[in-house]
């Protein structure tokens, strides 16, 4: 259950991707979801990893989420963690991650659409309700100031830094979670330097800035070089999204990176703009 926190969170989210590969034979392609038995197993295994990771850097499990970008499974929980931990993460709350039922059998998709249409009638709740309620307790001057600051904040595109080892699905994650097309170069394999990409979100959702950081864990020499890049880029970002492979056997490099990221982000609790 969600509980309210009066503490600025560390701007870090760890995504455990590719959970669809954790249980052999556990994915129902027709429905595009795990079988019930597989879901119970992968939930248990993912929670074990989350518990292990949360201990290494004294991070709470509110920073870690398991999902599958390729199958579009649990994208909203991942987005929720990004929103909760990012600076001004509410700017991302209009984003609708890609729909998992689009990958299901057409008949399943039609059934799901029909059921969702029935449920959505008269069931609109959003965070604007909260803002409206708060305004009741503020003077007109304070409300005006709040609105001005909000407008200023909304003019800045959210800036997300993404990193992880090669092949963990960084690009697929960005495309699926933020529902955006990210064009990658066909001439280079892997990212060797930080790359800044800006693109429009769907439905007039504005711009999202993504800093694609070079992957770690190839060699000690490269890691030392990349640490400098990370430290120069990360303080200005609203959130850092670290992607890991959920079924990876060796977590040493990832654990080391989580520790470093936590330390760097604690030094700059809010983005240096």
């Amino acid at each position: 259950m969600f509980s309210f926190k009066e503490k600025t969170p560390i701007r870090l989210v760890i995504g455990l991707n590719q959970v669809d590969k954790m249980i052999p034979g556990g994915w129902n392609e027709k429905l595009n979801c795990p079988t019930k038995e597989a879901e119970e197993q992968l939930e248990k295994r993912a929670k074990d990893i989350i518990s292990k990771l949360s201990k290494i850097a004294q991070l709470s499990d509110t920073h870690i989420e398991y999902y599958s970008a390729l199958k579009r499974y649990r994208l909203i929980p991942l987005l929720s963690k990004v929103i909760a931990n990012a600076y001004a993460g509410f700017k991302l709350d209009h984003i609708k991650p890609r729909d998992p039922f689009e990958l299901a059998d057409p008949e399943v998709k039609a059934f799901a659409d029909e059921q969702r249409a029935k449920r959505n009638k008269g069931n609109q709740q959003d965070s604007n309700l909260f803002l409206e309620e708060l305004s009741k307790y503020l003077s007109p001057q304070d409300t005006k100031l709040l609105q001005e600051k909000l407008a200023q904040e909304k003019q800045r595109p959210p800036k997300v830094a993404i990193l992880g080892k090669a092949g963990v699905g960084k690009t697929t994650t960005i495309n699926s979670v933020f529902n955006a097309e990210w064009k990658t170069s066909h001439t280079t394999v892997g990212t060797t330097e930080a790359q800044m990409k800006e693109f429009e979100l769907k439905d007039g959702g504005g711009t999202l800035s993504v800093v694609d950081l070079p992957g770690y864990g190839r060699s000690l020499k490269e890691d030392a070089k990349y640490d400098e890049i990370y430290q120069s880029v990360i303080p200005s970002c609203d959130v850092v999204l670290l992607i890991m492979q959920a079924d990876a056997r060796d977590l040493t490099d990832d654990q080391e990176m989580i520790l470093k990221l936590t330390q760097w982000l604690k030094k700059s609790p809010t983005p240096q703009r």
Partner: protein, 64 residues
Amino acid sequence: MAMSEWERQRTLEMIDKLSDNERERVLSSVQSFTNWLRDKLYFIYNKVRDKVRSLWDKLCSFFY
């Protein structure tokens, strides 16, 4: 091939989970807004601090 009753049930379960996830997303946004308010306009945050908590509880009660 037509959907079996089991497949329909499983699909409905997945839709339920998506609805729950959406609610958590709204609460995340509220939490984020509060964090931002505390950082950006601390004096306003202080004025509504007690209200924030009760409104949070109210919002949770809509959902759970």
